[in-house]
């Protein structure tokens, strides 16, 4: 085995805040430093760590109150933070949104324009939050204001045409690594996210979707360790063909040598935890693959996977199979189950799990009762 397939963890310890920007940015220079267990904020709250205070969407077109596509990207990031914080038991209950204009035009007109920009931003943010948790917007007090032209960005008219979104700092709960869950859960499931290639859908979004869906089974999904960036270029497009028969792929009884090599990178992953590896693609091409050697629960997620793929693949690890008999070749068909055998990108936010699927998940030996002690942490 070549050493290129393994990463040696660095010995130094880092701060959560210190590595989040690197994680969200372009591929970094190597493994992120491990963080001692017990010192992390709640895992879902991590989606908030990269937010600016306040977040700003700017460069609105002149005399236009409509949001641009780039603005929606920022709002999705904020929504992921808000949804994640709620699931981690640290809900954000108030958000202040302030609209601004440049100095062209009169005060009264610009006050109205700033107000409309702020109102449109609120509406778009509510939509983004609702996609992750339909009930959440109703639990947040939005304040919408205008400052008109009173607070321009000096010397920059385009950047003056902006909206500020004030999301209060999230008070991270202690992670309670050994016992306990937030109210409403009966078991917990730990994931360890290891990133070879940044996915197109933000990790925080996939995680929020999974947390929402798994809540129906009473399963509290959490990150068990800091996200780790793996530099394994040879495995970025991962061979998942059965070595005995290349026509078969992603088989539980046909794990490829490359899967074995990748899954040996388990820094911090306990025996009952699931390691999630984000890669560029698999060969043959799959959105994800849940096959793994016995005793090493793992899934692989491709870069262009949907926001549901993480929850779907972990569902396989927990014992779920695909729904059968769906008319997948009909592009108009909209599946309703997370475990669809069609594309999960067709799923709507109302996607769910059946009672029998929920029962199967609950019986997984990987779940830890909320009242139990996790004694297998490594």
């Amino acid at each position: 085995m070549n050493d290129e397939y393994f990463l040696q963890p660095e010995a130094s310890l880092g701060e959560w805040e210190a590595y989040v920007p690197e994680l969200e940015g372009p591929p970094g220079p190597g493994p992120l430093p491990p963080v001692p267990w017990g010192g992390l904020p709640g895992p879902s709250v991590s989606a908030c760590a990269g937010l600016a205070r306040p977040e700003v969407i700017d460069r609105f077109d002149f005399d236009v109150d409509r949001l641009k596509p780039a603005h929606h990207v920022v709002l999705q990031r904020i929504a992921a933070c808000i949804a994640g914080a709620a699931r981690a038991g640290s809900p954000i209950t108030a958000i202040r949104i302030v609209g601004h204009t440049d100095r062209v035009g009169n005060d009264a007109y610009n006050n109205g324009l700033g107000q409309r920009r702020a109102s449109n931003t609120r509406a778009a943010l509510e939509v983004a939050i609702r996609r992750l948790d339909p009930t959440l917007p109703g639990r947040i007090a939005f304040t919408v204001e205008t400052r008109g032209e009173r607070d321009p960005v000096p010397g920059d008219r385009a950047r003056s045409r902006r909206v500020q979104i004030f999301v209060p700092p999230v008070v991270a709960r202690p992670p309670s690594p050994q016992t306990g869950c937030p109210p409403g859960y009966t078991t917990r499931l730990r994931l360890h996210l290891k990133i070879l290639v940044d996915p197109a859908v933000p990790v925080a979004t996939s995680l929020a979707v999974m947390q929402r869906l798994y809540r129906a089974a009473g399963i509290f999904v959490e990150e068990g360790s800091p996200r780790e960036r793996l530099r394994l270029p040879t495995l970025e497009i991962l061979d998942v063909r059965d070595p005995r028969n290349p026509a078969d792929r992603c088989m539980m009884n046909g794990i490829s040598a490359e899967q074995h090599a990748l899954f040996r990178n388990r820094n911090g992953v306990g025996p009952r935890d699931i390691a999630v590896y984000f890669v560029e693609n698999t060969d043959p091409g799959l959105n994800g693959c849940a096959s793994h050697p016995p005793g090493l629960p793992s899934v692989v997620i491709s870069r262009t996977a949907s926001q549901f793929t993480l929850a779907h693949e972990v569902g396989h690890v927990l014992g779920l199979d695909h729904v059968r008999g769906e008319p997948c070749r009909n592009r108009a068909f909209v599946p309703t189950s997370l475990m669809t055998g069609c594309s999960t990108s067709r799923l709507r936010t109302t996607a769910n799990l059946s009672p029998s699927e929920l029962a199967t998940m609950r019986s997984s030996r990987l779940l830890v009762p909320c009242g139990g002690r996790i004694s297998t942490w490594s």
């Binding site: 085995m1 078969d248 560029e280 693609n281 091409g285 693959c289 069609c342």
Partner: protein
């Protein structure tokens, strides 16, 4: 009834496409696969290449040769991966080209595919890669491929273990 392009794209878009099942439609799929490989979706293009590998016909090699021109290394890697399964003598020239690809993943799968072939030109090429590839891991893969010779079902086929 033969599957149309839209239906094929829908099936290939599944999170885990059932390539073996789709490939039962055989050679009539090839024009659709060629079109998908030239299309705007990198994901569908790569999956079309993977599927072509399941169609055991020289015309599938021709479709993959077109896909090997794709700008996306992900698509070219899928072409190389498909040739592991489509181990036809007509694929040798294409493999020779893919072994020279600038992208590591493309070369990796081309090496694995070459291990399925017994053509002496490929063996010579693999020896050169084993000696000179910039990636130590790929050098090892290439050397293992030479050592393993032609691998059929039951072989490791990866050189990584």
């Amino acid at each position: 009834m033969v599957m149309n392009a839209s239906e094929l794209a829908a099936l290939l878009s599944a999170d885990e496409p059932n390539y073996s099942l789709i490939a039962r439609e055989g050679v009539p799929l090839l024009p659709h696969l060629r079109a998908l490989m030239a299309g705007r979706s990198e994901t569908l293009a790569a999956r079309a290449a993977s599927l072509a590998g399941y169609i055991d016909d020289d015309r599938a090699v021709g479709v993959l040769a077109a896909g090997a021109q794709n700008r996306s290394p992900t698509v070219r890697a899928a072409v190389a991966g498909a040739l592991r399964q489509l181990a036809r003598p007509s694929a040798v020239a294409l493999l020779m080209r893919l072994l020279d690809d600038s992208h590591l993943s493309v070369r990796k799968f081309a090496i694995k595919a070459s291990a399925q072939q017994s053509d002496p030109r490929l063996q010579t090429k693999l020896a050169a890669i084993g000696a000179r590839d910039p990636s130590p891991a790929l050098r090892q893969v290439a050397m293992a491929a030479i050592g393993g010779g032609r691998r059929g079902p039951g072989g490791n086929g990866t050189g990584i273990a």
